[in-house]
């Protein structure tokens, strides 16, 4: 049913439909509306969950880890500094193969303090073993939570997952969203059955330490599971499409890329602006297309290579920067295209909530045409010179 909703509330309703049994969360802008909405649902008996009002994000994810180990489907949400505080627990959740699902309402990292959007927070956790999905709009943000649980809890995956969507730009924006009913959600996502759990009837030990004789094999298996998750994403995404008409089987989305000379690569809400800019540029006869990454982990290496096979140049929009080198997306796209002649140019853009308009996208495409890239786009030169 189509409803006009704030992004955070659309996500909260999806989460409710996923029937998490334990929720642990801590307030932080711009994530707070989600956990407020869930608290209200619990307070009004619309959601039958244990809601733990923890004293920090660190404890939020730790409590989720414990509840997951005890056999419950769990949920948390955070952003930016909160996610950074969870850093240690993030690696732990993945290493212990706990299928925690967490919304990341993307926000910049301090210092300087910024509550506004970029994607530095979740991208900084790219090595942690969490699956990472990035939504373009509120519909996708809502839908990806069902997909995330379905993939994370699969016995061949058993990994935690981020569903990332841009702070304020999506989280605080009202859009029409086609919400599943509880019955539809239940038919897609069955109740959680843990593969193993803390249980006195069958006592096992979780979280043992591994000597050098064993450690690498654990890490290898986690890596295999992250890569292997692509298969489950394909089947679960296809099933979602068959049931509800929105197919998420591909890790990437191509937009007007077939005959493109210049390909833009990006993730998240900026892709809406990019698509509009492409439509305008196409009218002007410029052959520009977009490759949107919906999944950053697993990284869609093959899909990137095949989608970008015919283009002359690639312009990557990075809402993050690995300080001292380049944007994370550009580095990985370049790696995926290793051995091919196509230039990959990086544009660090929209950090800390700086607005991006269609004219900026046109400017990036022009710069890429001139071979000019690997730079911070849109700097106020008077402040840095």
């Amino acid at each position: 049913m189509m409803e006009f909703m704030e992004g955070s509330h659309a996500v909260a309703h999806s989460v409710k439909h996923c029937r998490p049994e334990v929720i642990a969360a801590y307030p932080i802008t711009p994530q707070t509306h989600i956990v407020e909405a869930l608290a209200e649902m619990v307070a009004n008996c619309q959601l039958d969950a244990e809601y733990i009002t923890v004293e920090s994000e660190f404890s939020a994810l730790s409590a989720c880890l414990g509840a997951s180990a005890a056999g419950s489907r769990v949920y948390s949400a955070t952003t930016s500094q909160g996610l950074a505080l969870m850093f240690e627990v993030c690696f732990n959740c993945a290493g212990m193969r706990m299928p925690v699902v967490m919304s990341i309402v993307n926000r910049a990292m301090g210092a300087p303090l910024s509550i506004w959007n970029d994607q530095q927070d979740s991208i900084s956790l790219r090595d942690s073993g969490w699956l990472q999905f990035y939504a373009e709009d509120n519909q996708e943000a809502a839908d990806l939570h069902y997909l995330a649980y379905k993939v994370a809890e699969d016995r061949n995956v058993l990994l935690p997952a981020f569903v990332c969507f841009d702070g304020f730009i999506l989280s605080h924006t009202y859009e029409p969203v086609d919400m599943l009913t509880q019955e539809q959600a239940d038919s897609y996502l069955p109740r959680y059955t843990p593969v193993q759990r803390l249980d006195s009837a069958d006592p096992i030990s979780f979280g043992l330490f591994a000597s050098p004789d064993y450690y690498m094999e654990f890490r290898y298996q986690i890596d295999q599971a992250v890569k292997g998750a692509a298969k489950k994403i394909a089947s679960a995404g296809r099933e979602f499409g068959e049931m509800f008409g929105r197919d998420y089987s591909d890790l990437v989305e191509s937009y007007r890329l077939d005959d493109a000379d210049c390909a833009i690569v990006a993730m998240g809400s900026i892709c809406g602006t990019v698509k509009d800019a492409i439509d305008e540029m196409r009218k002007d006869g410029k052959k520009v297309g977009l490759l949107r990454l919906r999944s950053f982990r697993p990284f869609p290496e093959k899909e990137v290579r095949s989608a970008l096979a015919g283009v002359n140049r690639v312009a990557v929009l990075d809402k993050n920067v690995s300080l001292g080198t380049k944007g994370a997306v550009a580095l990985e796209v370049r790696d995926a295209l290793y051995g091919q002649q196509v230039p990959v140019l990086d544009y660090i853009i929209a950090l800390g909530g700086r607005d991006v308009r269609k004219k900026d996208i046109r400017a990036v495409v022009d710069m890429a045409g001139q071979g000019k890239g690997d730079l911070f786009y849109g700097l106020r030169q008077e402040l840095v010179s």
Binding site: A70, V74, L198, D199, S200, S205
Partner: protein, 297 residues
């Protein structure tokens, strides 16, 4: 001893001979029984009991990180409640995990009132990393980060009063115990588990390796701590001290001189002013808790 152990904490782990923490673990599980989930913090006990692929735990057991056992326990308690399961939850941590790095999670879990028991095995320093001082290290103890030296008499601060901090959270039952009195420890574990809400037990666990005494003396050292008044076994119910172990007190020297960590107070010369300061700590404990048995003349 408490008689035959039910063996839920299995033999064959890698603790040092004479390890008090291992004795505590065995006694705690003897008291708790098999329907117990244990959440361990990183530390000696976690490391010596669970080198993959082996485990000494015959109850469901989990270790996540150094500082989050209370938060992990919170999640487990919530999950069990949601599932309608009846297992008890015990969080275990050393003094570093409990007094220092994990106190945020501990405070949060107690404030929220989860029904679980937190047990700190207190060996008064970071032993797993090689005997560094913690907030539980007593005054003047020499550790590798508070070494006694030409211009140092060891640790400069008294032990943090953590039981009182947790009692101030409104914990219904807070108690201290010692591995030198295992039947008492067992009773306190049983009482804590039978009490609804977050309960705290702090168990004095002399560490032969870190304190510098022979492994066969662990029980004797623990007993001397009590007999000198440097460790007090007491119970608090609803914020009030309800039971205290009384003793005929010995001078603190009887306890100090048995341990390498206090050797600098006696060699090369006796440091009377410092010994007197430690005696004052015991005297204050005695007055505060009323531990002295008055002998009739």
């Amino acid at each position: 001893m408490t008689g035959e152990s039910c063996g839920l904490f299995e033999y064959g782990h890698r603790a040092c001979g004479g390890c008090a923490a291992a004795m505590a673990a065995r006694t705690i599980l003897d008291a708790a029984g098999k329907d117990t989930i244990v959440v361990s913090a990183t530390g000696c006990m976690e490391v010596f009991s669970t080198p993959y692929p082996e485990t000494a735990w015959k109850v469901p057991w989990i270790h996540s990180l150094f500082e989050n056992n209370s938060a992990v326990a919170s999640g487990i308690v919530a999950s069990l409640k949601k599932q309608g399961r009846k297992e008890k939850v015990i969080a275990l941590g050393g003094d570093g995990a409990t007094f220092d790095i994990g106190i945020l999670c501990l405070s949060g879990a107690f404030e929220r009132g989860h029904d679980f028991v937190y047990i700190c095995y207190d060996n008064e320093a970071y032993m797993n990393t090689g005997i560094q001082r913690s907030g539980a290290t007593p005054y003047d103890a020499s550790t590798t980060t508070s070494p006694a030296g030409k211009c140092s008499t060891g640790n400069r601060r008294p032990k943090k009063d953590l039981p009182m901090i947790l009692a101030a959270h409104g914990a219904p039952y807070v108690a201290t115990a010692s591995i030198a009195y295992l039947p008492d420890l067992k009773k306190k574990v049983e009482k804590a588990l039978a009490t609804e809400g977050p309960c705290y037990l702090q168990v004095h666990a002399p560490c032969c390796t870190g304190w510098g005494f022979e492994g066969e003396k662990t029980m004797a050292i623990g007993k001397l701590a009590i007999e000198t008044g440097l460790w007090v076994n007491y119970e608090m119910e609803e914020g009030k001290v309800t039971r205290v172990k009384k003793v005929v007190r010995k001078p603190v020297e009887a306890y100090l001189k048995e341990q390498r960590r206090f050797r600098h107070l006696f060699k090369p010369t006796r440091n009377e002013p410092e010994i007197a300061k430690i005696q004052a700590v015991a005297d204050r404990n005695a007055e505060r808790f009323g531990i002295d048995i008055k002998l009739k003349k």
